[in-house]
Every structure is written in C-alpha cells, then in structure tokens.
Amino acid sequence: MSAQITIKLFASFREAVGEGSLNWPLPPSGNLTAGKLLAALVAEYPTLSGPSKAARIMLNRQYANPDAALTAGDEIAFIPPVGGG
C-alpha cells in the first residue's frame, strides 16, 4: 500500500468535490508541499479554481503555510472563508 495523505473537504470544497474526504497518494519522490497538493487538487476538480484562491490551509488541524512539507499520514484541509458564530 502506497503512502497517503488524507484531504478533508468542507463547505464549498466538499460540494465541489462531492466528498468530505479524499485519500491522496504521496508522489514516489516523497516531496510534496501543501501548496502543490492544492494545485494538483484544483487540476483534478477545476470548479475548485475560484474558491481555492481564498482558501487557507490546515495541516494536522493547525493553520499552516503553502510551503509546509507533507508526510505520509498527514491530514490536510483547505479552509474556505469561515462563517462561524
């Protein structure tokens, strides 16, 4: 079984993808950043293109930068503008 990342999807992202969660394989090189993963996800689901511009990143449930490196087992989420409270 190949090494994977879990992508959590919420709100407009969840609706665009049609799933609340995706398993995403790490590339053979093992080199992947949060920002590159988002770009790959948008390439797969073009309707994410607009929403992705305003999205923030959470890596293992904490806010992170696009250059954060991903490793097997990480949980990543792309956070559309929030509306709680």
Partner: protein, 144 residues
Amino acid sequence: MAKIIRITDQPIDLQELVEAVTNERNGGVVLFSGVVRRWNEGQEVHWLEYEAYKEAAEEAMALIAQEVEQRWDTRDIAMAHRVGHLEIGEVAVGIAVGAAHRTEAFDACEFAIDTLKATAPIWKKESWEGQGGQQGEKWVENKV
C-alpha cells in the same frame, strides 16, 4: 484549560456555560449568545446550516482559551458552537467568561467571539429569500 469546549449538534445550554464559569473568585461573568436573525442585509433568512471541521474547530477554541488565560488571567471560559440545521431565533454559539472584575470579563468575552469568528473552521449556509421573491442558498463568509 477551559471549562467547556464543544462543537455539538444539540441545542446550546447557556445556563450550563454561565454556571461553569461562576465561582467565588469571579466578580463578573459575561455571556455572549449568537442568535439566528430573520433578516440579513435585506434578505429574509429561512434557515441556516452550520458545518464544522470539528476537531480543528475545538483546537481553535482551545487556542482562544489559552490566549484569554495569558491576557486576562482567567481559565474560566466556556465555549459551545452548534452545527447542523438551525431555525430563526435559535442559538448558534455561546461563550461565557468569568473574571475577577467586570472589565476583564467583557474584554475577554468579546475577544473570544471575535477570534472564533475569524479563525474557527466553521461554515454557514443560508437559505434566503429576496424582496422580489427570488430564493437561493449560499455560503456566508464572516466579514474580517
């Protein structure tokens, strides 16, 4: 450590939040309750649907409690946010803070709700109807 941190699909018990932060050290307790309004920017709201990244939202709330403790020297904070379908007039979020003096309790409670609205991964879908009868559903972003 906060007294209560909770994302829940059940109605929020405000009395429970207040009681959790009321004790003999605290001269002032302030509660904020966020309620679903019928009118929002000229449109009538039919209902709201809240969605949360539950574990991360609870971590964001725990960070708020940490900062409240550092800035206002109290651990007496209780926070609950509801998810799922909400009708007009229902409580979406409740935050109670107890502190030695009232100014601290007011400031810490307002900080907590402001920061929750800016940082907690929670989303709100609104079912709306315009003055001319047009209808729709949309994700509503908090103003920054």
